[in-house]
């Protein structure tokens, strides 16, 4: 019973949501209630996770685990943000400016690092993965789109060439569609497994 009850509740909730989605007039009120529950639940899980994170790092500091300085930094930043957020409010311009001044350069630098890493990866791609249909097609398409990105060909303003470029630029859509269909099918099956209790934290 301990295992079946959550299963029944979960399955019924999922079926209710599905029914409400396809019955807009009748089901929207039910769906609204359910969504509100989910929002509250998600907020609580977030709080629980944050509390757990803080406690875990606190434990690291107390036990002097390797890398506890990072834990110290995390807890300090968390505490400062929390206190200022409570005192000034999350929409206070000064508070937001300070947060932005810290976060934006760090994340921008990380994105710049991505460019660097990608360049390094480009240098190693064939050596590490060897010659295969996948690597060759990847290499060719990368070269083609890099050349197109330079814009030299577009600047020629040749109608025929522009047509070819438009066609080539549309090619990724074909692969994207196929992959999206595959992902959607996988998601559908996963959803069924969850709804019918075949996928869950405890079951086998």
């Amino acid at each position: 019973m301990k295992r079946i009850l959550p299963l029944i509740v979960g399955g019924l909730s999922a079926l209710t949501v599905l029914a409400a989605v396809f019955l807009p007039g009748q089901g929207s009120s039910v769906l609204t209630v359910l969504l509100n529950w989910v929002i509250v639940l998600a907020a609580i899980t977030f709080l629980v996770a944050v509390a757990s994170l803080a406690l875990t790092h606190l434990r690291f500091i107390i036990t002097g685990k390797k890398g506890f300085l990072l834990s110290l930094t995390l807890l300090f930043s968390f505490a400062v943000t929390l206190v200022f957020g409570f005192l000034r409010g999350v929409e206070d311009p000064v508070f937001l400016k300070w947060i932005g001044a810290v976060v934006r350069p760090i994340e921008s630098a990380l994105l710049g690092l991505v460019a660097l890493v990608m360049m390094s990866a480009a240098l190693k791609i064939f050596r590490e993965r060897g010659w295969s249909a996948l690597t060759v097609s990847f290499g060719v398409s990368a070269v083609v789109f890099l050349v197109l990105g330079l814009g030299f060909l577009q600047n020629l303003n040749l109608p025929v060439l522009n047509g070819v470029i438009r066609f080539v630029e549309g090619l990724p859509m074909i692969g994207a569609r196929g992959l999206l269909i595959g992902i959607a099918i996988g998601l559908l099956m996963m959803a069924f497994r969850v709804i019918f209790g075949m996928e869950g934290p405890g079951n086998d």
Binding site: A122, L123, K124, N155
Partner: protein, 673 residues
């Protein structure tokens, strides 16, 4: 060629004939212990083997003394029984001191660690379930084995009747071996077997095992000497074909028992052995061997692969006699033996010989192909599929040592830290220099992408009466790129007089939006609304025609208070995640028939949105550098962008060239070798 009952077992009590699969005589009901005959073991009861299997189990049950490690008398009996006895003892018995330690460990929580206590808990749970029906289960298990074996024997008997009519076809035993045998495993077995040999043929320490192997070695040498005297007509079938198969002249010089060892695997399945016997019901050993050799030769001509596996069983007459004598020395009760038993006992010795030969094989001895090693094929035949798969996995893991494993990076780093720094410097210097040279020439212009053109057209069609919801859904990392693309669009909207309302479902949108407003030339007082609850709130808002203030009282003072989602003519998604845009289009858009959706996204995520633009779910989206034109021209250094692309292009081409060069060098080296 055969009759209906080609091989029969004689009842030890009434002497009448019985089918081989019978466990009891059909005439007198006496018990016949032919069922548990294993290869490499004498098929007839040994002298010391007075106890049948059930008796032994009964002894284990009743006699507490048997719960201690097996006694010498028991060890002298059949190895099968010994193993069973040991298993039985292992289940129920343990030294007294160990029991006490276990009891104490269970009793004292502090005495055990966390892991041990967990294991104890598992043991306790399992023992509760398992101990109650242990004996019953064991008996039932034996019964099941008997029944299964009888069924298998019956079915095999029927198959053999069909197969013997077509002698040219691949024997069933060979098919099974082929199905079971995998080259990788064999190779590893060979490797492991080779480790058994002692250096210079002499072990470092004379243990019982070493003495036993020495004895086996002596027996093998005797066997080799005798087998050299074999008449050609008997051995030709077994000797010539494998030699051809191996393609090695050394093979002919190899000791004769080696060729016999290769035959051992086919004795390891009782059914196969019986099936071979089926073909020769009343033949003497000589006739049987000759016929087997001919049959094997015929099979080998048709199927060369059989050479790999070695020939079917054939035993030289002299060695058979020798082995019989040897078996008699172990089991001094020869009068009861039938011809089958003689063959079995001979095979037993041959198996022993093969083991001895392997263990005493000198290092400089010619290496034979693995199938000739009986012990290497033996596990193949006896292992289940799953077991074999696991063995293969283990073998592959051993093989992979020092190699690349799944996803593992190559240990050889051609461009380590130095290479990485060089690439970084190249990129940074290239970008900085290209920016320092000066602004791009005004002639540089790129045509706008088709989706961006559609977005521009939609934005241009906005009027003062239109309300536009601008959703900020991106992280700080992508803010520079997105702001550069979105700012011109927002400016155009503002110029058209449309009412803009900014919304974010992420806290980061609050401080990122300030920068965007600044770039778009919008008032700093423009409020960015934060909707708690992320996309779940958005879905709730989308499906409910009421204004969000009715759903969420905290939004009563916000700009959104009087708007339902459907009141917005255009919803512009500024997002660095194609997944989030998909979420809007797939889960929110269906509820909003009157709204249109557009997006501004990064170049990385743009290809995913192409199908949605193609289907009309997106009226347009901006993603490329040129899509931000003309406003983007001032913000971007197009030259730096091109330099970056060119460097990336150069790296790719360089990578291809380097790989091609490395391949050419490798081929050259291989050719040189």
């Amino acid at each position: 060629m055969t009759d209906d009952h080609p091989v029969v077992h004689l009842c030890p009590v009434c002497g009448k004939e019985n089918l081989p699969m019978n466990t009891r005589c059909v005439h007198c009901g006496a018990e016949m212990e032919s069922l548990f005959t294993f290869d490499g073991l004498p098929s007839t009861p040994l002298e010391d083997d007075e106890h049948s299997l059930p008796d032994i189990i009964e002894d284990i049950r009743n006699d507490p003394a048997l719960r201690t490690p097996a006694e010498p008398d028991e060890e002298a009996a059949s190895p099968t029984e010994e193993g069973l006895t040991a298993q039985g003892a292992g289940i129920d018995s343990s030294p007294e001191w160990l029991s006490k330690v276990r009891q104490r460990a269970r009793g004292e929580e502090d005495a055990v660690g966390g892991l041990v206590s967990g294991i104890n808990a598992m043991d306790a749970l399992r023992s509760e379930e398992g101990s109650a029906g242990l004996e019953g289960e064991f008996t039932a298990w034996i019964s099941r084995i008997r029944e299964q074996n009888q069924q298998e024997n019956s079915s095999r008997f029927r198959q053999q009747q069909n197969e013997v009519e077509e002698p040219g076809e691949v024997p069933e035993w060979l098919q099974r071996i082929r199905a079971l045998r995998l080259p990788t495993y064999d190779g590893n077995t060979q490797e492991s077997e080779s480790k058994k040999t002692y250096p210079n043929g002499v072990p470092q320490e004379w243990t019982d095992e070493a003495l036993m192997e020495l004895r086996r070695q002596a027996l093998a040498e005797e066997g080799a000497e005798e087998s050299e005297e074999l008449p050609q007509d008997v051995a030709s079938g077994e000797e010539e074909e494998p030699a051809t198969a191996l393609g090695s002249d050394d093979f002919s010089d190899a000791p004769e028992p080696e060729s016999e060892h290769s035959e051992e695997p086919f004795h390891n399945i009782p059914e196969d052995e019986k099936s071979a016997e089926v073909n020769h019901p009343d033949a003497t050993v000589d006739e049987y061997l000759t016929a087997s050799a001919e049959q094997a030769q015929a099979g080998a001509h048709e199927l060369p692969e059989t050479e790999e596996m070695s020939m079917p069983e054939a035993l030289p007459e002299e060695q058979a006699a020798e082995s019989q004598g040897e078996t008699q020395s172990v089991t001094p009760e020869p009068s009861e033996k039938t011809a089958d038993a003689e063959v079995d006992s001979a095979e037993t010795l041959a198996a022993d010989d093969s083991e001895a030969q392997e263990s005493t094989k000198p290092d400089d001895a010619p290496e034979l192909e693995q199938p000739r090693d009986s012990s290497s094929v033996l596990p193949d035949l006896l292992l289940l599929r799953d077991q074999q798969n696991r063995a293969n996995l283990l073998a592959s893991l051993i093989e992979q040592e020092g190699r690349e494993i799944a996803g593992r990076q190559p240990s050889k780093q051609l461009s380590g830290k130095g290479g990485r720094i060089a690439v970084a410097l190249l990129l940074i210097i290239g970008l900085v220099v290209s920016m320092l040279i000066g602004h791009d020439a005004p002639t540089v212009s790129l045509p706008m992408s088709v989706p961006a053109g559609a977005l521009n057209a939609r934005v241009s069609s906005l009027t003062k009466a239109d309300q536009v919801l601008v959703v900020l859904d991106y992280q700080a990392a992508a803010s520079r790129e997105l702001e550069t693309l979105a700012a011109p669009v927002l400016k155009t909207m503002r110029a058209q007089g449309a009412e803009l309302i900014f919304l974010t479902a992420q806290p980061s949108g609050l401080f990122l939006g300030q920068s965007l407003l600044e770039k778009a030339g919008l008032s700093a007082d423009t409020k960015i609304e934060y909707l708690p609850g992320s996309y779940l709130s958005l879905i709730g808002w989308a499906m409910n025609p009421a204004a969000p203030a009715d759903l969420n009282p905290t939004l009563a003072n916000s700009q959104l208070a009087k708007h339902s989602l459907s009141s917005f003519g255009l919803i512009l998604l500024i997002s660095d995640s194609s997944e989030n845009v998909r979420g809007w289009l797939e889960q929110i858009a269906p509820w909003q028939a009157s709204s249109t959706f557009a997006a501004v996204t990064t170049q990385m995520e743009a290809p995913v949105l192409a199908p949605y633009f193609d289907s009309g779910q997106l009226v347009g989206y901006a993603f490329a550098l040129a899509d931000g034109s003309p406003g983007a021209a001032a913000a971007f250094s197009f030259r730096a962008y091109r330099v970056g692309l060119l460097l990336m292009l150069a790296m790719l081409v360089l990578s291809a060239i380097a790989k091609a060069d490395a391949d050419a060098v490798r081929r050259e080296e291989e050719r040189a070798k």
